[in-house]
Amino acid sequence: MIRDLATVIWKEYREFARGAGKGRLGTLIFVGVFGVLFPLQEGLDWFTGPLPLVYFCLLPATMVMGWVADSFAGERERHTLETLLASRLPDGAILWGKVLALVLYSWAISILGLLSSALAVNIASWDGRVHFYPSYILLGTLSLSLLLAGLTTALGVLISLRAATVRQAAQRLSLGILVVGWMPFVVLSAFPGAREALARWLDEATREVGSPQGVFIRALPLGLLFLLLVDGTLLAMARARFHRSRLILEKGR
């Protein structure tokens, strides 16, 4: 199975690398802007502020949106899906190979951004010692970026499995991300009681632990668990949906 996964990942990266250079260029621009330029403007505050979390959790997950939309809808649109399904590759290897390729790429960008920004800031603000992220930022970014990449990928693969074209998949995914992203705010505004309870909890937690960082540390496991559940549910749905005869018969809807 691992060898089959590696084969699918190899193909995905070859196609990505040959995608008219757009993918590589996008990665370079991202790392240049968010992994060097913006951190340099922050100086040593970069390491303790919330920006690494924002940049390297959310943005890499959104960067794979185009690619994830292409995962199955692209194979269907370019008429390569049936031949792939007619090969000896097991269902799981095709599905998980594509998922892993996307998640690992997104996660690698996060790690690259964390490292490049740390290097750039250390060089620009060198004071005789090496500065690095506090552990809650580092672990928070690494774990959240992985699970957020998983969320985008799982949602995208689920949509892409059902879409006839890449464009249709991309549109549906954008809408899906918008719905998922805005869902907490909609829920909070629809239920004033929940909003008040959250505010109370934040207030108490801040008072108790003494800082917003402390609240983040306290809330992180809960957030990770929630993301893990959502990712797992979406991936289980994608796996249940991935069936050779269904993929052959459905031309996308």
Partner: protein, 313 residues
Amino acid sequence: MTEIAIRTEGLGRSFGELRAVDGLTLEVPAGVIFGFLGPNGSGKTTTIRLLLGLLEPTAGQAWVLGHSVRQEAWAVRERAGALLEENGLYERLTAEENLEFYGRIYRLPKAERRARIRELLEHFGLWERRAEVVRTWSRGMRQKLALARALLHRPRILFLDEPTAGLDPVAAASLHEDLLSMVKGEGVTVFLTTHNLAEAEKLCALVGVIRQGRLLAVGTPEELQARGQGTEVQVVGSGFTSELLAALEARPEVLEVASSDGGNALRIRLQRGAPMAPLVAQMVQAGAAIEEVYKRRASLEETFLQLVEEKEG
């Protein structure tokens, strides 16, 4: 005993009310090119999908290389190569990368993979262009590459779904030659669907005719031609009056008489096995001058059309 590569028993697949494949019972011996003939929408592609385990049968059973397509579809796909309706090539990848991907899928060791890719690309005359992305290639070159991909892992059986559709005659002839030489060299069984009768006649040792999901006939092209209705006789000469034509048409063994070449030739369709000599004698007695008489066997195309029309009737 002849080894059987494909065996189906009452194989069927319905889509709602539509029976795309209906009670297909068939045996294809190993090592031959089997042509599966039928008009568009007759169930050829669905049959291939059933045999590859890409669709589940709604009736009957099929075995490919001894493996049930219901229970061991993975084993069938492991041993089969396929060139389906679409060539399935990754157009953003180079020719070599396309083969490399499928070589990895079939777990060919690195050295063997490299050697096999080179062997196939050289055989198909594509080695010099291996580093080009496939998007820029002609349809004929892509079909050759797709055929190379299907043969890459030395499959024991090859499914080809209308491999020359859309190719110009030169590219199609070239693909035929490549296919014949590869099949001869590698000894694979080929299940080839086509509605190109000339292609089937040239390539296939055995053919089956399918229409509306039902198998109408199976046999060698010669056997099928022999099953065709009647024999066509061409008579060249003069003095073929309308009275003579009417008299010939009145004979019980004559199915059809038609005059051509400005009245200097006749085309007579006789019942199978009927002698021609009495007709020649009658024509001479009626004053016709006969220069040439020759019998022509019905082509596979004519037989195919007859079979399809019979079914329609």
